[in-house]
Symmetry: C2
Subunit: 173 residues, 2 copies
């Protein structure tokens, strides 16, 4: 069976720096109407960043929504009209100070398809070399850590790493 | 280094059926101020649902934010004050019509820590038996599919399955 929900009315509730919130009135497959709260997000790119064959560069960052510092692979939002690979290479350099000779697309994920359209494209970066280190986002405060991939797998299974893009990216290794 | 962003002011922008949107004025580690758009979500539970040792029950569902039908493991939102296991058992029965003799916690993920506080708890359900099949959410239209775990892994790697909670759950298998 094919289901669909057609928008019969749409109201922009909020347009912010990063997200937009829209309330859709939709027609359900059974003919009834319902509402859907939808967060529109520009999407992002996350990068499995290989310092060498068995070690990744990870980013430790305070995440305000969780009121907690967590460990993630380097990642960032796409700017308007920016292609995923361009975004990924930019974010890699901004967050780690490295550029990559090898930059390969692995797959994509949708983070919260029930209420949000965010897509994260996952890449792997290898053969790193020093780029600029003066281009970090001035609103962003991060610590870099080099961690072995086997250790990261253990940290995922033990619950020390909970970030969905980081956990998901390991399915592409 | 420990970083933190203290809220100095907070404004509720929207309180909906499912999500709430708050704009925080925060003090950054460098003393400057910035704003953070934060979506508050009740969180949810996702269930690796074993029909037998090598086959999962999957849910195909139209996701309005993506304007697309995608394949996911059974999952749902927590009701106010509901414990994750209670939510998981309820959603399992609502979506698949099954109850489970074995219901085991595997881990949790945060889906979009940059702007949203959603946490998804991941469980595995085994030893299924028929529950009620008249309690489905009336706003929800789903198709159930039984798919072998090896096939699901292939579908993740090939990009046919992109749902982050589904992809992440396979790191706990």
């Amino acid at each position: 069976m094919k289901f669909e929900e057609k928008t019969v009315d749409k109201k922009l509730l909020y347009k912010g720096k990063i997200i937009e919130l829209n309330l859709h009135r939709v027609k359900l497959p059974n003919g009834k109407e319902s509402s859907r709260e939808i967060v529109n997000h520009p999407g992002g790119v996350a990068i499995l960043t290989y310092k060498n064959d068995d070690t990744l560069i990870m980013v430790e960052q305070f995440r305000k929504p969780l009121e907690k510092t967590i460990l993630e692979i380097p990642a960032g939002k796409m700017e308007k009209g920016e292609k995923p690979e361009v975004c990924g290479r930019r974010e890699l350099e901004e967050e780690t100070g490295y550029k990559a000779k090898t930059f390969k697309y692995l797959g994509k994920i949708v983070t919260s398809p029930g209420f949000c359209d965010e897509v994260i494209y996952i890449y792997e970066a290898r053969d790193l070399y020093k780029g600029r280190n003066d281009i970090a986002d001035e609103d962003e405060f991060i610590n870099l850590k080099e961690i072995k991939t086997d250790k990261i797998k253990d940290m995922i299974k033990s619950g020390e790493i909970i970030d969905a893009k980081t956990v998901s990216s390991f399915m592409f290794i």
